[in-house]
């Protein structure tokens, strides 16, 4: 029994990580229609900036408030990079979707290489509060605190994103802008600002995922973001592009599936099952679990 609980809770932790990565991706993908391969870069920037801040920023550190400050710095850095990328690289290419995707591909190559050039290819130990290394006993299962932290963070991010889409007009503007950008401007709306905002939020979510992923993995390395990206993509697609809630469902499904199959089945079967789930969902319901609509 305790094994099942352990697997379920750690599976949820994994799902939370997937969701954190996927949420920003889904937002940018679903709203701005950009299949953002540079998302892994934003992740990396967030992780490295947090790592750097904990060591160098006055007031920041691996513990307590200092850690919060370091993470805040990391998120800010990720957001900033995302905004810059949108302004400089994506914006001039609007309505040329394929080219936008390709620019993000180029960016993911160049950006990760840049991280590597700056900080080396080796994994660096990630600063983190001591308690994240510990475990909490829940019904006989030793659940890692890092996973619990991820679950809480993911729930908060989910709530915040839903509120953003629900209570502001931006969701609407962006969805309309994806369909017909010209017409949105013809209604007197500066659609460019809205797109930049979406990128900023996507970047912030990615950077947060990077920082918390660092806590989870205990290290930070240049390629970390890209390796998470493939599962994040799967989550986004299963959940339905642009649906934040769908991503949440899909992340939970993928995380639990992987965890249980890996325990009860043979190694590697977990990944194959996830891929199988993706294919099955798409063949039965090409728009994903929650379809295209991005309101929730």
């Amino acid at each position: 029994m305790s094994t099942v609980i352990l697997l379920a809770l750690t599976g949820l932790g994994l799902a939370a990580l997937y969701f954190l990565v996927a949420s920003g991706l889904s937002l940018v993908f679903g709203l701005a229609d950009v299949l953002n391969f540079a998302h892994g870069l934003f992740l990396g920037v967030g992780a490295y900036a947090t790592w750097w801040a904990a060591g160098n920023l006055p007031g920041a550190g691996p513990d307590g408030f200092g850690f919060v400050l370091a993470v805040a710095f990391g998120v800010a850095a990720g957001t900033l990079v995302a905004i810059l990328v949108e302004l400089v690289l994506i914006r001039p290419l609007y309505s040329r979707t394929i080219e936008q995707v390709l620019v993000t591909v180029g960016l993911s190559l160049a950006g990760v290489a840049l991280l590597q050039a700056t900080w080396g290819a080796d994994a660096r130990p990630f600063p983190r509060p001591e308690w994240t290394r510990g475990v909490t006993g829940i019904l006989g299962a030793q659940v890692p605190n890092g996973g619990l932290l991820l679950i809480i963070a993911a729930a908060l991010v989910l709530g915040a994103l839903l509120a953003f889409l629900q209570w502001t007009r931006y969701g609407l503007v962006i969805r309309a802008g994806v369909e017909n950008r010209e017409m949105v401007t013809a209604l007197g709306i500066d659609v460019r600002k809205a797109f930049t905002l979406v990128f900023a939020i996507g970047g912030a979510a990615a950077a947060l995922a990077g920082a918390l992923g660092g806590v989870y993995f205990g290290t930070v390395s240049p390629g970390q973001g890209s390796s998470l990206l493939i599962f994040a993509f799967i989550v986004v697609v299963i959940g339905g592009m642009g649906s934040v809630l769908g991503s949440a469902y899909a992340a939970v499904a993928v995380g639990l599936l992987q965890q249980f199959v890996n325990y009860y089945g043979t190694s590697g079967l977990g990944d194959i099952c996830v891929v199988g789930l993706l294919a099955a969902v798409l063949l039965l319901r090409p728009q994903g679990i929650a379809g295209k609509v991005a309101t929730a």
């Binding site: 290419l93 591909v105 960016l107 190559l109 290489a113 592009m241 891929v275 294919a279 063949l283």
Partner: protein
């Protein structure tokens, strides 16, 4: 009726297939022969001892240069085959690497593990790769747009996992599987015979370009071009979109598998790099870099991409880079940084790809002439 389309993959920046609309021009008499001339030049290139310092390490006829060129040619052909899907039919597949990898691993395993003679292995592999493409395509084509891209990606991912798992020691896992050359024809083994591999690669490229060209110019190619624009309309005209897409998918898959066979010989083995989704992404990059839907664009893009990919490692360690201050030399010594940057710049400065460059230049010339006439 205005129906919202499911999240569609935008059709690539379309170019009218040149094959369908032969516009008469000054060139039109010479033009059909240009590819032949290019082929001929490429074929006799290995007889030249031309030194191109900075471009190639050694003279053109040195094995190192020929090997590099052979790899470039293979990817030129691969990109041209992929363009049949992407540029000409508007299908965005993220799993094309699978069929290429099937070609590489198929040949390698049949030769090395099963001990088949090369020609049998090649034949079996190409047939197998084509059938694989037909089967998986038949399933994947039940979806469209991004969903299609993701289903193909998923299939390719399973392929990658299987290769990495190394079932029965068949694939060699992450270490790859060197090709056992003992049963191979003499002429394909050894550094001195690199030129034969080069010719093989050239033949492959020529074959792909010819096939793609013929198919695009055929009645079926016309339907494919129509599919790219409006699938619904094709159905209403009385043609089954599914069938045509499947044919394109299968054909492209078969061509990729054939490329895999040659690549396996050139590199002398298989390694899991080629099963990664990054390879498909690079194919996409190559096609867009060159110009989707054009005859020479994808070839050019593929050749250039592979050339940069190989040569940038040398660039990164060159004196010129090392002598720069650290802020510059560190990133510049990362080949992927340079490649990514070049790629981003290319998207900006050559919209429509390298193939679009010519027509843009013509336009520029014309407007300059106009300017000079109207003071």
């Amino acid at each position: 009726m205005t129906e919202v389309k499911s999240p569609e993959v935008p059709a690539p920046p379309a170019a009218v297939p040149a094959e369908l609309d032969p516009r008469p021009g000054r060139w039109h008499r010479v033009r059909p022969y240009l590819p032949l001339v290019a082929l001929l030049v490429a074929a006799i290139l290995p007889y030249s001892t031309l030194q191109l310092p900075g471009i190639f390490e050694g003279p053109v006829n040195s094995p190192g240069t020929l090997q590099l060129l052979a790899i470039c040619l293979i990817f030129g052909g691969l990109a041209a085959g992929y363009d049949l899907l992407f540029g000409r039919t508007g299908m965005l597949s993220f799993g094309h690497a699978l069929y290429f990898a099937a070609g590489v691993y198929g040949t390698d395993i049949l030769v090395t593990k099963a001990g088949l003679p090369l020609w049998q292995a090649a034949l079996l592999t190409i047939t197998g790769g084509t059938i694989l493409a037909a089967l998986l395509g038949a399933v994947a084509l039940r979806t469209a747009g991004i969903a299609f891209a993701m289903v193909t990606l998923a299939f390719a991912q399973v392929g990658a996992i299987l290769v990495a798992r190394d079932f029965g020691g068949l694939t060699g896992g992450e270490e790859g599987l060197p090709l056992d050359v003992s049963g191979l024809p003499e002429a394909l083994v050894g550094v001195t015979n690199t030129v034969n591999l080069y010719w093989l690669a050239l033949a492959y490229l020529a074959l792909v370009v010819f096939v793609v060209h013929r198919v695009s110019g055929s009645p079926t190619g016309r339907v494919l071009a129509g599919l790219r624009d409006d699938e619904r309309r094709i159905g209403v005209l009385g043609l089954d979109p599914y069938r045509y897409k499947l044919v394109a998918f299968t054909l492209a898959g078969g061509l990729a598998a054939a490329g895999g066979v040659v690549y396996c010989l050139i590199v002398g083995g298989a390694s899991p790099h080629i099963t990664s989704s990054e390879l498909t992404l690079s194919l996409l990059v190559m096609v867009v870099l060159g110009g989707p839907g054009t005859r020479w664009g994808p070839v050019l893009g593929g050749v250039l991409y592979m050339y940069l990919d190989h040569r940038l490692t040398a660039f990164g360690t060159s004196e010129a880079v090392d002598s720069l201050p650290a802020v510059l030399s560190r990133p510049l010594s990362q080949p992927l940084f340079v490649l990514g940057t070049i790629f981003i710049l290319a998207v900006y400065f050559f919209p429509g790809g390298l193939a679009g460059l010519a027509s843009r230049l013509t336009l520029l010339r014309r407007s300059l002439r106009l300017l000079s006439r109207t003071p």
